[in-house]
Symmetry: C2
Subunit: 382 residues, 2 copies
């Protein structure tokens, strides 16, 4: 039904009506005092969200732009780095690092499994010459629904004393705890169309004092993604290039909502939704793709057996107007992914489970009595 589609993909995520209304306001001058007030307020709100005293810089661009900025502002040509690769986005950071002539050692885990923190620990411990300048990896792997153990990996990185952590938190920030200062994280990148509950177009990068020290000697060429003028101008509640003014209006409104809900409530909500979906899928014998002990609170990938995942996904879109994500690269047709991050409530969760149950039922590909998924989910939700 036209205009009735609901998004349950891992971005763009659903946007609250009040945020859309803010988005649709007439723009104002980006050098005006009125806009400075918005930068000032959102800067402070972003620090709250990142649980940090570091500046959080806003870039007009996608999450990839923010992650690239983190990499190219802190490293120099030929620097040795470790890249964690256990999914499409981990792979992407390997590509970025190689594009800039970094010396990349890849640490892999199978798609659907988490990076092994001990493997990273051992490599770092063996590096007595302190040649490794950074460990680059994703927190929540959007392509598989795996949550890597950021806290433990960060501890190993800190023990090395030289290497920086550069972390893709695109689908974890605003969905689960990412306490930048407490965990001593160096670079965190994220994007607006995820936990932030606003449309795509803005991305965010926060850097620790250690990262800023590295930035001073970084020699990789850059201009639009050079964070130095962003850092300088944010001190005056300004920005180096014309920012995406209307997305700032939306950002201010969504961060207001997030602050009202509180970080803990947001994290609990995401955890509850993940568990409800997992319980439901187990009840209807739909295999979870990611290992449960390392599953992301933002995305759940389902790997149906004996049927193309795309057939289920398309039916759910056409019949029930719910957009789920497909599998990427070699997972195409093997999994479908439920995005449950951002502006998602318990109703959305039972809705998507119902739609999956009804779809499987109509296709005759489940032996579980219809309703068993909802029943299992409802035990978690209540």
């Amino acid at each position: 039904m036209q205009d009735k589609l609901t998004l349950m993909i891992p971005g763009p995520t659903p946007v609250p009506e009040s945020v859309l209304t803010a988005l649709g306001r007439h723009p104002i001058g980006h050098r005006s005092s009125e806009f400075q007030e918005i930068i000032k307020k959102t800067s402070s709100q972003l620090k709250w969200l990142h649980q940090t005293t570091n500046d959080v810089l806003t870039i007009t661009g996608s999450g990839t732009a923010a992650m690239e900025a983190g990499i190219i502002n802190t490293l120099s040509k030929g620097d040795k780095v470790i890249c964690g690769d256990n999914g499409k986005f981990g792979q992407r950071w390997v590509k970025v690092a190689k594009a800039y002539g970094l010396n990349v050692q890849v640490v892999k885990a199978e798609w659907g499994k988490a990076l092994n923190p001990n493997e990273i620990k051992e490599i770092l411990e063996k590096d007595t010459e302190k040649e490794i300048k950074a460990v680059i990896f994703t927190h929540s792997e959007t392509s598989t629904g795996v949550l890597n153990d950021l806290e433990t990996i960060s501890k190993h990185i800190r023990a090395h004393k030289q290497a920086l952590s550069i972390v893709d938190c695109v689908t974890s920030l605003g969905a689960c705890d990412v306490p930048m200062d407490k965990w001593n994280l160096d670079v965190i990148a994220s994007g607006s169309q995820k936990g932030y509950m606003i449309p795509p177009g803005l991305s965010f990068v926060a850097m620790s004092e250690r990262a800023w020290t590295a930035q001073k000697t970084s020699n990789l060429p850059k201009f639009y993604l050079d964070l130095s003028p962003y850092q300088k101008t944010i001190k005056n509640d300004s920005s180096p290039f014309t920012p995406s003014v209307n997305l700032y209006f939306a950002l201010e409104k969504s961060l207001d909502m997030m602050q009202k809900e509180s970080l803990n409530s947001i994290f609990e909500r995401h955890k509850r939704h993940k568990k409800a979906i997992q319980a439901a899928m187990k009840a209807i014998k739909m295999p979870l793709f990611a290992e449960e002990e390392n599953s992301s609170p933002a995305i759940t990938a389902i790997a149906p057996t004996n049927i193309d995942a795309e057939v289920i996904r398309k039916h759910i879109k056409e019949k029930y107007d719910i957009l789920l994500a497909g599998g990427q690269d070699h997972l195409k047709g093997k999994v479908f992914r439920i995005g449950h991050l951002g502006f998602v409530n318990d109703r959305d969760i039972i809705t998507v489970i119902s739609a999956i149950e009804a779809t499987l039922h109509s296709m005759g590909i489940t032996n579980s009595p219809i309703g068993s998924g909802i029943n299992a989910a409802s035990d978690i939700l209540s």
Copy 2:
């Protein structure tokens, strides 16, 4: 008066209500067939606007990002380039070129004056070894209101046979004629918050076949601004990174409006408005900063004598709720700038002239009878 402000700065420019409504729609999946339709349609509309058969690529970022993309996709380290510098944006492209290790020869003109095409011609003619790989410059210099002679400079570049033209058309595209194919332009960069009549956040870059040939051997490091995946994905009506979905909704709507008005009518309207403002300023003895024969149809800079331009600008904002732009860098306090590009009608023009006249009158800094500016403008407008 709150929310009554009108923008007459050179970006963000006024946005039509129907475009804002489109902007405030709920986002859709950026990999959906519905979004592919929008990319397909806007791609075709963008070709119309650029008067080209080349692909026009859309980047989520500011105009600077698009211009940087044009430079770093077509050149290699150490390449010799000419940069035209007759204002803040010309200066910026010098900085970008230097940041990437290009060998830059700067051709200057005083702020307020146009680049001398003959100077560029002579340098190109002397380069018998064909070492010069590009000429980088602005068409409409937003900081001064000067329009450089793109057609003539492009002719000289083509006569050289090796060098590419890389042109900042941020405030000229959609305001005056920029026929990419007819003038044999190689790289054109522009931004959404200008003639496009939508808020900031998208930028555009179009490249000729010659530029794409150069792109194949370009060795400057890049990832987010690497145009190769943009070119590849646009063939499938897609994009390499999550695009600013809602700004595409706005773009589609504004390009519909522009097509309805027609290119010639848009250009005539901008020319008429420029002439009306120039005539009015002459009538009230307010000096025009840019030389009239090379003045931009998008921005007029006024250089009041014996009074800080900021005093006038602030009074017009506070008393009449019209936002004008100040002078940049050494022009701060020396000029104020009237943006008259994009969604601007004759009413806006007489309004801003009235506000300037009334302001000067109330400050006792004009000898012209009040109304003489409007009178002169009205002769042009009617």
